[in-house]
Symmetry: C2
């Protein structure tokens, strides 16, 4: 049975090199991260995917609280009249809103949107909650799902309903709002790099690519293994764009009434897709230890032999008590070979095998999922050994992804170089700042402007597209 | 200013003895737990309310995971055709569903319900995920918000949108499903009593009061300070009521295809309302330490005097590092008197005052919110002292609520006794089991059957309503 099983697994994952997109879908489904729901474009997150999201949430939420943010839970339904209050915003979102028009047997007099995002709701409530400068800053976040009626959807990357967090904060001054905007961008960078082991470029979006209603949008952009960018988090400075129509005002120390300066920032279940496409390989998912539902799996070898199962159970207890997320796979109807494949597919960072010979030698045999490197760890200090290995796997996964990103990022000085570079990665180029050049590049190469790095040291003086004088450094690439 | 402030707080809370219902609403709003949203019947949970909910969630979720459950995230939209598959269920929920009929600019061919509950969605997905007995039990839970188009709403107690968890599990045998149903009821009992310090009666609902589609429903019922019951959690055994129409089947060990036996169980943000009405008093909210966003608040006294603020900051660090949720209120524009009132209103279990004299004596002065008892604790072992006090407050709040419940629960042997007892509390009575008697009692006394305790030792032999032979012990009371 083991042989057939092995083949079964292998034949169901399309090789990554052959068809990246199909490989992605195969991994998502076979690793049981999600399944398609009966409503078009919606997904059901299965336990394994949900647990990954919970671990990402915990890492984020901890940092949000440490930076002085509080969670709230806002209503999911937004009256149409509220959505209409900010012109750019409604233009950006109206085409993709799901509308509630009936409540029970009653036909509603005003349509209600299922939130596509909650700026309008937050502003409505902030206007009631903020009176004076003493109430500021007010820094709230919520974890929820939102709905955008998408035409083409892909698991985690673009779904009609997705799960996310949205932070919305109000400040007394423009400077404070800008500080907050950049602080939260840095939180996203840190979570991406230190938790997801996923290197990112942080920078500012062009006017064309910024959020509907924002004065400035910043993003962190990761690179997938097909060389495309994935926007992993965005942080917006709204200035008073929303606080004016929504009349979010405060009485300042000088006795005058002023509009609040607002920020908002979001990241979503897209991050799960990003992790898959940053780290995955031919065998499936490869999870960084910090967000792996199981950081290590224990497989009994020759489990029918005396003492093996008992020793595995002891080891399980030992690791569990040391705070390691560990799974003992004692299913007796599957061969070790089948289990090897399954846990590799599911991306568990560390496999531990314990059989009669290991026990005799006082060790557990291990295999690292990231490098497939094998070795042994002494059983009597196993928790320490495992923790060290997990730390090393986390670091080495980041290093590998960073090396890939560096390799696939190049400075380009001509349109031809740009065109070639965006086939396989990021192009860093000088850009004149005009929308026309962005549009041209997109039309001819499918690449879009990603962001302008904070380090704007020029790498030339003329626009990569039109050849006119340029003083902006911009990353271009194809993107998800 | 302190005086005015004090009066301001007091005059805004209606005395509990005068108008319990208005007192409740005042506390909810003044303690900033929630606010009304622009959509009728919906609420925005503010940070203080949300944090309480997060702490309840954490206590529940830990126990769900310990009992082998996994979280999932199901889509919020359910096609009408799925809702129609189980007859009783659709009849129970259809009148209160919010319907999505438009997606973007497209008019949908089938209406989509915002989930009022997710049995139908879980069953749809379970039917795809379950093949053989080896997949069972499958025990999933989700945290989300649901929508029921309510006509009359009250903060936390009944809102059109509310936040909850819903567990849905599938089992190979009827026995296992029944075990699970009772296990989760016990989890609810434990969380109510040990975490919320809120005593409950656990038992089985009558056929009339059971969930739409369930074979048996169990509940835990708490008692509010106006003597009314509040259903704090329910656990249902569905048998194969849903798995048959949804074709949730598994191949059993004997090679035959069988329908799964299903359970579901839920608890919601109603619990916050229950905590308010179980423990609150004339001064406002009274939170059990285990779910208090701040378990202790530190108030500097004569803060302008040298060393006071510094000492308070040290104490804050010390308690924070010991894992106590602590707040240092160093606002300099408010008097201690104002702050006393505010933190009492917000129900913080322990107030710590530190002034020059306290520092001189090496102590912090404290006041317990539950008993208003005052005393001092040595500063050099403050964390231990605070932890002990918090444990004692938790225990003593439960004891006080339990004494109230016991006092307001009586065995009744006649209809007249029943009628009187349900004016102020629970009546335990013999009941013949007929729906007619339940209907009569409800019509004439406004009391409903709450649940049948597991201990069914008879306290008589004739029905409290019709006088016929009766063998069921049932609790009756008015309820939220």
């Amino acid at each position: 049975m083991a042989k057939e099983a092995k083949q079964d697994f292998v034949q169901h994952i399309t090789p990554r090199s052959e068809n990246f997109s199909q490989w992605y879908t195969d991994v998502v489904l076979k690793a049981e991260l999600m399944d398609y729901a009966p409503v078009r474009g919606c997904m059901a997150m299965r336990p394994y995917g949900t647990r990954i999201w919970e671990l990402i949430q915990a890492a984020m939420d901890k940092r949000f609280k440490e930076t002085g943010h509080e969670n709230v839970a806002m209503p999911m339904l937004i009256p149409e009249s509220l959505l209409l209050k900010e012109a750019e915003h409604v233009e950006g979102f109206a085409p993709e809103v799901a509308w509630v028009t009936q409540g029970g047997s009653e036909v509603l007099t005003e349509r209600l949107a299922i939130r596509p995002t909650s700026e309008t709701m937050f502003c409505t409530m902030y206007a009631r909650w903020i009176q004076s400068w003493r109430d500021l800053p007010m820094k709230y976040n919520q974890w929820c799902s939102v709905m955008r009626w998408e035409k083409t959807t892909r698991p985690f990357l673009r779904t009609s309903e997705f799960w996310w967090q949205e932070g919305h904060t109000m400040h007394a001054t423009a400077e404070e709002a800008q500080e907050e905007t950049l602080q939260m961008l840095e939180v996203y960078r840190e979570v991406c790099e230190d938790v997801l082991a996923m290197p990112v470029f942080a920078g500012q979006k062009s006017d064309k690519e910024k959020f509907a209603g924002a004065r400035a949008t910043y993003s962190v952009e990761a690179m997938m293994q097909d060389g495309k960018a994935l926007q992993a988090g965005t942080s917006h400075n709204f200035g008073t764009n929303f606080s004016e129509p929504f009349e979010v005002q405060f009485l300042d120390k000088d006795g005058t009434l002023k509009h609040c300066h607002e920020t908002s920032w979001g990241s979503s279940t897209r991050l799960i897709g990003a992790v898959i496409m940053t780290h995955g390989d031919e065998r499936g998912l490869k999870l960084p230890p910090q967000i792996a539902p199981f950081q290590a799996v224990i497989l009994p070898i020759a489990a029918h032999k005396g003492g093996v199962i008992e020793r595995c159970e002891q080891v399980y207890q030992q690791l569990h008590e040391a705070g390691i997320r560990v799974k003992l796979d004692d299913r007796d109807n599957l061969s070790p070979g089948w289990k090897f494949n399954e846990w590799e597919l599911k991306g568990v960072p560390l496999r531990l095998e314990i059989g009669p010979r290991d026990i005799e030698n006082g060790v557990a045999s291990y295999m690292r999922r990231d490098t497939f490197e094998k070795g042994t760890l002494p059983l009597d200090s196993l928790a320490e050994g495992v923790k060290e290995l997990l730390n090393d796997i986390q670091r080495s996964m980041f290093a590998q992804a960073k090396a890939f990103m560096d390799e696939h990022t190049k400075d380009v000085h001509s349109y031809e170089e740009l065109r070639q570079q965006v086939q396989t990665g990021y192009a860093r180029a000088m850009w004149c700042g005009s929308r026309a050049c962005e549009d041209n590049i997109k039309e001819e190469t499918s690449a879009t402007s990603r962001n302008m790095p904070f380090d704007q040291t020029p790498i030339g003086d003329s626009c990569v597209c039109c050849g006119q004088k340029a003083d902006k450094v911009m990353y271009f690439s194809k993107a998800y």
